[in-house]
């Protein structure tokens, strides 16, 4: 343990109000702490910023998955295990379920939350590409009130979000908009479990009569934030699915993603594999069924 423990404080309020009041307190400096699966790793290695943390874990208002006619609303504290067990998510949002199944190990799945995965703002996070494909929206709350924002655009830059220091994510909303679309998710992380993505791919396409009518394409680990590929989606819309689509897709993709070399991989690999995954998705109809290595679903 490399952290200097006396430099940390943790409060565990039981109501959303109490938590929001702490976060809004004039003295500032309170930060949310959900499942702790990102924060505890930082603490152990001595890299967690000293300060005061509000545990959200006991706040019932942040839990639960509610299903309505238009879609589902997922509490920010929903864990990966909750996602895996939910019948509606399994039926209608298979990419989120697949992402949850490929996250960490069982211990991490029991403790890590979707809210934390988003707000940790890692470009390598595994659920955000799936959330982007489903046109997710976020409910964001503070003592000042609640606002609803589209998730696409929430990440403004590396670790920069449309989230004020006194705000927290309350829930994630997913509309039932992808029924009947072809969907695929693939996490590329070199080993089959406990991997951090080098490239993470999620996509859905409305393909009828050999033509791609509409698509959602998102990637992780290929830009400063997870990205939805608007340029590529636009370039593909209305195209026939034939081998010629590959070059169009690869070309357009260079406008959407900006991979870099880092400790885990190279820009060249990420660009190439992102293109391969997309082309394979477009041309090989069976790939939405392709089993990914450590699937539990």
């Amino acid at each position: 343990m490399r952290a200097f423990l006396p430099a940390y404080d943790l409060e565990a309020p039981e109501t959303l109000d109490a938590a929001l009041r702490l976060l809004s307190g004039g003295d500032g400096g309170w930060k949310p702490f959900a499942g702790g699966t990102d924060l505890m790793v930082l603490l152990e290695s001595g890299k967690l910023a000293p300060g005061r943390y509000v545990s959200l874990w006991d706040i019932e208002e942040l839990r639960g998955i509610t299903v309505s006619e238009d879609g589902v609303a997922i509490g920010a504290l929903t864990t990966y295990s909750d996602v895996l067990a939910h019948p509606v998510l399994r039926a209608d949002f298979p990419l989120v379920v697949r992402a949850a199944a490929e996250t960490g190990g069982v211990a991490t799945q029991n403790r890590g939350t979707l809210g934390g995965n988003i707000a940790n703002a890692s470009p390598a996070a595994d659920t955000p590409p799936a959330l982007l494909v489903y046109d997710a929206e976020l409910d964001i709350v503070s003592v000042r009130g609640t606002r609803r924002v589209p998730y696409d655009g929430f990440h403004k830059g590396y670790k920069v979000m449309d989230l004020a220091p006194d705000e927290i994510i309350r829930r994630i909303r997913l509309p039932f908009a992808r029924r009947g679309w072809r969907q695929a998710y693939r996490k590329v992380g070199t080993r089959r479990a406990q991997a951090i993505s080098k490239v993470c791919f999620a996509a859905a396409a409305d393909v009828r009569d050999g033509t791609l009518h509409d698509a959602r394409i998102a990637f992780g680990s290929v830009a400063p934030t997870v990205v939805r590929c608007h340029v590529t989606e636009h370039a593909l819309r209305g195209r026939r699915i034939d081998p010629g689509i590959a070059a169009v897709a690869r070309q357009a993709l260079t406008a959407d993603i900006a991979p870099i070399d880092d400790v885990r991989s190279t820009a060249r690999y990420r660009m190439r594999v992102a293109g391969n995954l997309l082309v394979d998705f477009l041309l090989n109809d069976d790939n939405s069924q392709r089993p990914t290595p450590n699937s539990q679903s």
């Binding site: 200097f4 001595g46 070199t190 089959r192 400790v263 991989s265 190439r272 391969n276 090989n284």
Partner: protein, 1021 residues
């Protein structure tokens, strides 16, 4: 822990009743052991005991009710139990849904009759599968606190959650699986399906942790329960439905030349053991459970970090952040209570500031110059580990940078001289015949260049030492290590003390793989310097990150080959240029280089051979010993190259090798006449047959054309010499002592360490058979330089073969003393041995014998010319790897692995298989996943998240097959085995990837990034 009282619906309160005694109570000691066993193994031993067991138990009968006296504290505990049960069950309900059925915690006092029998309050919590309830006496929580030092709600909650876990096992039916599997010898495939999944696994000493066969045997008193140690043939695995049991050679191979060889050799060499004469079942050849296995799984085994001494300080190392430079100043941040710290710099060293090993170039603490990042400069100690970290952050070492060298090429270019006069630690040149003329005359000449990367050992327990050092008493250290006498020698120099004032004790050690060969001398020295200055015990234990950035790793290498063959595929010339990167100091590089050089031409005969080996200096932390010790590097190059030479010669890889394997009686490249029997052809044939090599090649040629997943199969043929190279063992002149007590117990005294590989167990088996008694009557002494002789380091695949032979000889000496005194007759029973010992000790005093290594007659080695008998024996092997390459992501997965090896007599099949499986797993890591990523001379991926070691999901079934041709100078015919399996996986996999993709793989690790570049070059060009 935060919780709120609930409605106690999870509780069945039986505190007011006292149970009817239905049988003898379970004794407290035994029950605690059982509890701990349950706790650590996940098997509910309690549910295995007492009463009639599940099904046959009477319904719970209670008599009498007395009022309960309770207290608010106790009621709070009841609420706590209820809350934990509630939370745990809610979690399982979430995970299992409708499959989960609620259980309740039965609270009792004194004793209770459960459906599983009678239990006393001292039982501790248990789960009874017959009535599906958790039983608990609240008094156990006091026990937890007082006996185990586990205070606090976490431990209490943990125990409860654990018992609920058994409930889940019962509900899901996995409890039976676990129990049955423990009772059988399991094979890789079965294990994979029930073992813990998806955990990134730090390496255990050679094998993944698994319950040893028959572990439950020998529990105290009536708790013991016999589990069959052997699987009757034909028992089926409950999991896979496969037949369990030792993999045996198919009938055809039992009649192979190698089998005939084996039969005659046993006869000729007189290797029939005392059991032949005394009619006792030999211990050798049986998979008896690990000696220290029970202590390890019950948590009784003590590692250095378990040691706490009164007044002890914690130590930390402050390191250079610059790759190379001159130290200008050391600054201590204001505002920290520096008077509370013990601070040591080079100026405090009482003796020589040199880590004694081969060359005196490495300082314990840098004083004016640093030669690599992470080089130790300042040591700190403080009573509080949290303050200590603050202190470490508060020290700044100011260094004026100097130009640095970061690669083999830069070092050889010598633009900057960073070591000696030419950046070269050591070079060898070995030649036979006339290589240049033979190359000129060859029909085909193939050149190639190959590279291998660094690798971290990743033993499960990081390095650590505890030291007590005072000028008046001398220096004592306890810690994790492979070689107590290396540490001993290093400390004597550091403190300038006579050797009798230095004591080194090996604690239980969680793996080494070479990583605890030389580095522990440094940590021991650092801890001792802090102890010396502070006058208090100091413990210095690295965390994983520090262990990864600072300690030794495998030498990166570059090998160039030029090979000449005739038209009919016979090797006529091999020209090999082998370079390894030693890092900033010499450490063991000369010997790593030596082994790599000697193994470079592999198991082939070639009349004209020239090998140049060079170890160069670079400004990275020194590379050091790692399983295989240079041989995996040069054999990777060779075996990849041999596939290419075969192709150029128009021959199949196997046919080319068959034409060139070295045969008994031929002379190796270093001039060794191979007198021991060799049959590489038989090994190759068996490996190809087991892996279905030829049929797969044909099938995939068709299927690969249409699939994005390309399948490939490849193999490597190789050997590994056991023991120190050349005259090394003569210089070591190792000594082992065996002594017997009046009661007939026998103690083996040796400095060789148990590091997870099984030293304790095989030494017991060897001594037992030499004495004709049970291995249970043998104790292996804890390596402690104050009491054990110097039997040399635990390295170089020498422990079993060289030191084991000394154990055998010394034990035979004890037996001879007894027979010589007329106290035993040949054919004696084990009980006679104890009687004889008692009489002997009463009449003559201590009964002990020692054995010292004697040079093998006829073995010659010329240290200057580097020719002669390099190793007394070699193990021989062929490994086959089957891979899939995903052409979308360029990821390679090993799908199947066959490892056939001839290793002499196998002393303990389960341990030997574990060595092979572990070595292959480590080889797969090196071949595909593990890449030490350097930036400015520092390892930038020093975490297990970014240093990609394979998980159990990334490993194939590893099918381990042995051929046994006994070696007369090894105990019962055994050779060395520890390093061998590291050599074969990488070249076999590289050949398989080349087969799958058609690209020329020349370097490991074959990361997806590298493979992509290679495959793109092929598509483009």
């Amino acid at each position: 822990m935060k919780w709120t009282p609930g409605d106690r619906s999870n509780i069945e309160d039986q505190r007011g009743r006292s149970g009817l005694r239905m049988g003898a109570p379970l004794g407290i000691g035994g029950l605690l052991i059982v509890l701990l066993l349950s706790w650590f193994t996940g098997v509910d031993f309690l549910s295995l005991l007492s009463g009639g067991g599940a099904g046959s138990a009477p319904p719970s009968a209670t008599v009498g009710t007395s009022g309960v006296a309770t207290s608010p504290e106790e009621e709070r505990l009841v609420d706590f139990v209820d809350a934990v049960m509630d939370d745990t069950q809610a979690t399982w309900e979430r995970l299992l849904g409708g499959r989960y059925q609620k259980t309740r915690a039965v609270l009792f006092r004194d004793g209770i009759q459960s459906a599983c029998g009678f239990a006393e309050s001292a039982s501790g919590p248990f789960y009874c599968p017959a009535d599906h309830k958790v039983y608990l006496d609240l008094g156990f929580f006091d026990e937890l606190r007082n006996r185990f030092g586990a205070s606090g709600e976490f431990a209490q909650g943990y125990v409860l959650a654990h018992e609920v876990g058994h409930h889940v096992q019962a509900l899901t039916g996995t409890d039976d699986q676990v129990r049955r599997l423990q009772a059988t010898r399991r094979q890789v495939r079965e294990r994979r399906q029930v073992g813990p999944r998806r955990t990134a696994r730090a390496r255990t000493g050679g094998r993944r942790l698994r319950p040893a066969t028959g572990r439950a045997r020998g529990l105290p008193g009536r708790l013991s329960r016999r589990v069959p140690a052997r699987v009757p043939s034909g028992v089926r695995s409950p999991v896979s439905g496969r037949t369990l049991g030792w993999p045996r050679a198919p009938r055809a191979y039992r009649r192979s030349p190698i089998a005939r060889l084996r039969a005659t050799r046993y006869g000729e060499a007189g290797l029939f053991h005392p059991w032949g004469k005394i009619g006792r079942m030999p211990a050798i050849g049986r998979s008896i459970p690990r000696k220290e296995g029970r202590a390890k799984v019950t948590g009784q085994a003590r590692y250095v970090d378990d040691l706490v001494l009164p007044g002890m300080l914690h130590g930390a190392t402050v390191r250079s952040s610059v790759v190379r430079g001159t130290i200008r100043d050391i600054r201590f941040a204001p505002g920290l209570p520096w008077d509370q710290f013990t601070i040591v710099t080079a100026a405090d060293i009482p003796g020589r500031n040199v880590v004694a090993l081969i060359t005196d170039d490495q300082p314990y603490l840098a004083s004016d110059r640093v030669n690599h990042a992470e080089e130790p400069v300042v040591l700190l100690a403080h009573p509080d580990p949290v303050m200590l970290e603050e202190g470490r952050r508060g020290v700044t070492i100011e260094i004026d940078p100097l130009p640095a060298v970061s690669s083999i090429d830069e070092s050889l270019a010598r633009r900057e001289i960073i070591w000696g006069t030419d950046n070269i630690f050591k070079s060898y040149s070995v030649a036979s015949g006339d290589v240049e003329s033979a190359l000129a005359a060859a029909d085909v000449v193939v050149a190639g260049e190959y590279e291998t990367g660094s690798q971290e050992q990743l033993y499960i327990e990081p390095n650590g030492m505890l030291a007590v050092a005072r000028p008046e008493d001398g220096v004592s250290v306890w810690g994790s290590m492979q070689c107590p006498y290396y540490v001993h020698r290093a400390l004597a120099g550091l403190f300038d003390l006579p050797s009798e004032r230095i004591r080194v004790v090996q604690m239980e050690t969680g793996g080494g793989f070479g990583g605890k060969e030389e580095y522990p001398s440094i940590i021991a020295g650092h801890a001792a310097l802090l102890a010396w200055k502070s006058g208090r015990p100091v413990k210095l234990v690295y965390d994983r990150a520090e262990d990864m950035v600072a300690t030794t790793k495998r030498h990166p290498s570059r090998t160039r080959h030029r090979t000449g063959v005739t038209r009919d595929g016979r090797l006529v010339a091999m020209d090999i240029d082998f370079v390894i990167d030693g890092g900033a100091y010499c450490t063991l590089s000369p010997v790593v280089l030596s082994r790599g050089t000697i193994h470079a031409p592999g198991p082939y005969f070639c009349p004209n051979t020239r090998i140049r080996g060079v170890a160069v200096a670079t400004n990275v932390p020194p590379h050091g010993a790692f399983r295989g010790f240079g041989a995996p590097q040069s054999l990777f190059a060779l075996e990849r190259h041999m596939d290419r030479v075969a192709e150029a010669a128009g021959l199949a890889p196997d046919e080319f090798r068959r034409r060139n394997f070295i045969q008994t009686g031929q002379t190796s490249a270093v001039g060794q006449v191979m007198r021991e029997p060799i049959d590489m052809n038989a090994i190759l044939a068996r490996a190809l047959k087991e892996s279905d090599y030829h049929a797969k090649k044909v099938a995939w040629a068709a299927s690969n054309a249409t699939s994005t997943i390309k399948k490939g199969i490849g193999f490597a043929a190789f050997m590994h010499g056991a023991g120190f190279t050349g005259s090394g063992e003569d210089h070591l002149a190792s000594v082992v002592v065996v002594e017997a007590t009046r009661e007939g117990r026998v103690r083996v005294l040796a400095a060789n360490t148990e590091i997870g590989q099984g030293t304790n167990t095989i030494f017991s088996q060897i001594a037992a058979d030499a004495l004709g008694i049970s291995p249970d009557a043998i104790d292996v002494a804890q390596p402690d330089t104050a009491s054990v002789p110097d039997s040399g380091p635990t390295v170089a695949s020498r422990t079993c073969m060289v030191v084991g032979k000394l154990v055998e000889t010394a034990a035979a000496g004890v037996a001879a003393s007894l027979t010589g005194a007329g106290l035993l007759q040949p054919g004696y029973a084990p009980a006679d041995f104890a009687t004889a010992c008692a009489t002997y000790v009463d009449r003559f005093g201590a009964l002990r014998a020692s054995a010292q290594y004697q040079a093998t007659p006829g073995m010659k080695w010329d240290d200057d010319r580097y020719v002669g008998d390099a190793y007394g024996s070699y193990a021989w092997a062929v490994y086959v790897a089957e891979v899939s390459v995903d052409t979308i992501t360029y990821e390679v997965h090993v799908d199947d692995f066959v490892a056939v090896q001839e290793v002499g007599k196998v002393i303990n099949p389960v341990l030997a298989t574990g060595q092979i499986e572990g070595g292959v797993a480590q080889g797969i890591g090196w071949a595909l996943y593990e890449q030490v990523s350097w930036r400015d001379g520092r390892m930038q991926n020093a975490q297990m998240t970014n240093y990609i070691m394979p998980t159990s999901m990334d490993l194939p079934p590893i099918r381990v097959l042995f051929e046994e041709v006994p070696y007369a100078r090894g105990p019962a015919g055994a050779k060395g085995i520890g390093e061998l399996p590291m050599d074969g996986a990488a070249p076999a996999i590289a050949n398989a990837v080349a087969h799958a993709t058609g690209v020329n793989v020349t370097a490991v690790p074959i990361t997806p990034e590298r493979l992509m570049v290679l495959m793109e070059e092929v598509t483009v060009g």
